[in-house]
């Protein structure tokens, strides 16, 4: 269960948003939409425990049970896919078998020993999804997860949504996520 009540966020004199409340049941998917600069990313960072709200209350799972994918895939570009996932597997105490399983699932096994800097943006996004799912998070927070993904990549993303994990997604293309959404939040 995710609950956020009367959230607001300010950076100095600039108000990003105010009085936002969100509730999401376990296994539900919250679809967040809105124009550029409306505060979607800031809200997602707050719900991923990466930023604190200026006011309001939050009920969120523990930090280490959250999987976050931002605008960047959050992987080291000069490391290989295998090295990136092995690093995070060590930090999360995840078995190495899961690294291989995710690389295979997201079609990156054959390029696992190539540096991420040689990957296309879509491949980097797939790797970002692998990193996000590595520790089998209780809550997924995905900011524009469809960025740069090709058709097979988008199908893989649909598979992630269909897993029934508690998920929060911000996107400019809500049509793809809509069939999985159980709650909606639209920023003006």
């Amino acid at each position: 269960m995710i609950a956020a009540r009367a959230l607001s966020k300010r950076y100095g004199d600039r108000r990003v948003f105010r009085d936002v409340s969100v509730e999401l049941e376990a296994g539900g998917l919250l679809l967040v939409t809105g124009a550029n600069g409306s505060g979607k990313t800031t809200l997602l960072r707050i719900l991923a425990r990466l930023a604190a709200p200026s006011t309001g209350t939050l009920e969120l799972p523990a930090r280490e049970t959250i999987g976050y994918l931002g605008h960047e895939p959050l992987v080291y570009r000069e490391l290989t896919a295998l090295e990136n996932l092995t690093l995070f597997a060590r930090l999360y105490r995840v078995e190495r078998e899961r690294v291989g399983m995710l690389l295979e699932r997201f079609g990156l096994w054959d390029v696992r020993n190539q540096r991420v800097s040689t990957y296309s943006r879509g491949m980097q996004q797939r790797l970002g999804l692998c990193r996000t799912l590595l520790h089998d998070p209780a809550l997924l927070v995905l900011d524009e997860p469809a960025n740069a993904l090709d058709a097979p990549g988008l199908e893989l993303l649909d598979g992630v949504f269909a897993e029934g994990r508690t998920t929060i997604v911000a996107t400019h293309e809500p049509e793809r996520v809509e069939p999985f959404a159980t709650r909606r939040l639209a920023f003006a």
């Binding site: 960072r45 930023a51 280490e64 960047e72 959050l74 570009r77 060590r90 540096r115």
Partner: protein, 205 residues
Amino acid sequence: MRYAQDTWALARKDLLLELRAKETLPSMLLFIIAAFTVFHFAIPHGTGVVAARGLLWSALVFTALLGLTRAFVAEREQGMFDALVLAPCDRSAIWLGKTVAVLCFLAAAEVVALPAFSIFFTGLDGRTVAAVALADLGIAAVGTLFGAMAVAGRARELMLPLLFLPMAIPIVVGGVGRYLWFLALYDAIFALLAWASFEYVVAET
């Protein structure tokens, strides 16, 4: 045990990144050798040993600053702090891993720089080498903390020298005077402070 494993995994990552990118260490080496060369021609012959030591410590501090400026480049450009702070490792392990990596870069640069100093200026005794080793600990500990603080701010290129250089003055004083006890005390106090305060540097805002 887990803390040590996390620290090593993070330090290993930084060493691997440098091995691949080869950006930090070559710049540090080039800078310190160039600085010694300039000092060699700028300073008149017969300059005293203490003055020469002053040049050594000035060059070391600015070389370290160059390395520290690049210490968090990957985290800044690729947004990696977000991924690291969500991991269940102690946040101070992020600082310690980075400090170990910075220490390795400094040591590697000095393996070349100290013999070069002996050639350009005057020979180095064991006490000076010990002072450099102790100073490296303090520089890496304090500099890594300030490097992380600078990454979070706006004028980061300006912020790091502004934070780091005043804190490096005691290191230069201790280094030129070869006060080993003073450098060891500096290391102990500021490494502890940096270790304890890193949590707040990367805390959510």
